[in-house]
Symmetry: C2
Subunit: 341 residues, 2 copies
């Protein structure tokens, strides 16, 4: 059901207020949006979309669970809301898609339906407004009684994103070819480094200032992804959510190629170590490949782009390798620790 919880219990006043608050903010985005394909949002059994001729739709869904993807004693509610939507938007960016609608399923313990929920929605809706993504529906519920922890319950949020791409043009993981250059937007490892600092001193991170907080407020690279698609630059793309090594292994496996990465070419965030850049995850940058002769600009959609290696034919050696300037090679394992130094 779009916008309403189902079940035997009637909704509480708090739940009805929650839905009303979400609906008001959702309608504001919907009212301002031009050319959107969402024709009916919150309020009926389903939301309704009218796809444009010559376009495909892409769909992604991402769970955010308290104590798995965030901690309430570390992450401000604005960050939890922002990150929830950013994860889905980053998947759209990796397909080169334009966001069309978001659906939020949210379960909250009773005691969080006040200011915590307000902060969560502020964070989520601010990002939605910036990218003009209408919230088209979802579901709400109270966290069940069994989820108690220190007297409270746990937060569950599931975000669904729909986006559009020109027919047959979505950027896939499977298009990389031997010889293609490997590129990444922005810098890597900043999220892992900030998470480590957050673990040590949570009080330093009670911030709503979103600039330069790669962990708390990652920026999905939607403009870069659309530019890659529009200019037919990329042969394959993925977003860096599980860490460069893991996400690169997905590109290699889906495309049937091997990869080598130039250690010195990696754009390591100023606060991060090489290990964090290779395996840290949650950077939400775009990792993509382009043909050897392609002229890839040094900036895409306002973010820097670095060439970090090349694809090659898979052989007997490791699927992924790190190459140092002196030519020394080390196998790169997905998610593992590479013993480079």
């Amino acid at each position: 059901m779009a916008g309403e919880r189902k079940g035997r219990r009637q909704k509480t006043a708090g739940e009805r207020e929650l839905i009303a608050a979400i609906r008001t903010r959702a309608d504001q985005i919907l009212g301002r949006r031009k050319r959107g394909i969402l024709t009916l949002g919150i309020g009926d059994d389903c939301a309704l979309m009218r796809p444009r001729r010559g376009e495909d739709l892409v769909v992604t869904t991402d769970l955010s669970l308290e104590n798995v993807h965030f901690r309430r004693d570390w992450h401000p509610p604005e960050s939890v809301g922002h990150r929830c939507l950013a994860r889905g938007l980053s998947d759209l960016a990796a397909m080169g898609a334009r966001p069309e609608a978001a659906f939020l399923s949210l379960a909250l313990p009773e005691d969080l339906t006040g200011s915590w929920m307000g902060g969560f929605l502020d964070g989520l809706m601010a990002l939605a407004e910036r990218h003009q993504v209408p919230l088209a529906g979802g579901d709400t519920a109270k966290s069940p009684p069994g989820m108690h922890r220190r007297g409270g319950g746990l937060v569950v949020a599931d975000i669904v994103l729909l986006g559009s791409v020109p027919k047959g043009r979505a950027l896939l993981r499977s298009g990389a070819r031997p010889g293609d250059g490997i590129y990444v937007t922005g810098a890597l490892g900043g999220s892992a480094a900030e998470l480590l600092a957050l673990e040590r001193q949570p009080a330093d991170f009670r911030t709503k200032d979103k600039a330069r907080h790669p962990h708390l407020y990652p920026e999905p690279r939607l403009a870069a992804g659309r530019k890659l698609l529009r200019d037919r630059l990329a042969t394959a793309a993925i977003d860096v959510s599980d860490g460069l090594s893991t996400d690169l292994s997905h590109l290699c496996e889906e495309s049937g190629v091997a990869a080598e990465i130039d250690a010195e070419a990696l754009p390591v965030d100023a606060r991060a170590t090489l290990e964090q850049a290779l395996h840290g995850g949650e950077d939400y940058e775009l990792l993509f490949t382009a043909p050897p002769k392609a002229v890839v600009p040094s900036q895409l959609g306002g973010v820097s782009v670095h060439r970090i290696g090349r694809m090659k034919k898979p052989g007997r050696g490791p699927l992924m390798e790190i190459v140092r300037q002196d030519g020394k090679r080390t196998a790169l394992a997905a998610g593992g620790w590479e013993h480079f130094r």
Copy 2:
């Protein structure tokens, strides 16, 4: 992300097996399906759909939380999986839509990834196969440590359904007019009655037999909904998920009309009381309206149809009334108890 959990942790062997098991069963449906619009399922950043010309898409999402929507000591895992998908399919039925793709976000405690999860998937996939709904993606995670209850964690499942309808023809809640007849498919109250019996004797309900279990294995009325749309019979429709009184109030509010229900015309399930039929919820029947002169067949898509009342202009009286054969009227409150007898 379609089909994979994101986050800093690597997936465990159990999680990878879960995803592989889901993917195999999903691919089987996809392979057999004709004319589907899903062109890329599990395995990339997003799933990909190619909408048909002249069609709209409908989208719905439904949370199923342990101890809110089901209990593990009452509901067999097959029932939990079935009900999870049935809730979403029922929303599609209420729009007159044809199912095109499902996305499942599933969080499970570690100790349930064996036979419990197998049962859950069996229940869900059996219903998906019956209605030829491909599972196109989703997300998986382990239930967080804070969710412990008697040594285990809690189950969270969020289902997303996409369906298609001819352009501009979706059945909405807002189309009912004064004078329209009010109709309902099947029987009401059976789910509430079975839930009560289940609470009393859970051991009697360890069944995978799906016939005549309106609570454990409700049947979404997809064929009836599509027939209503195709034959242009209905002016408005909704599914009976929160109970007749609540869902009828939604139809009245969205259409700007009032309703009167003939007490004797209500198709009350043989096991149920009138109160359960009016307020019980989770019957997943279709409630719809049709013009006064419309000839509505007594069966639609293999299920019986009853005319249970009429819409009228909203006045100073109650929004909804129950009318007895002797002409006595009683106000009907959404979700409340009506004092008829």
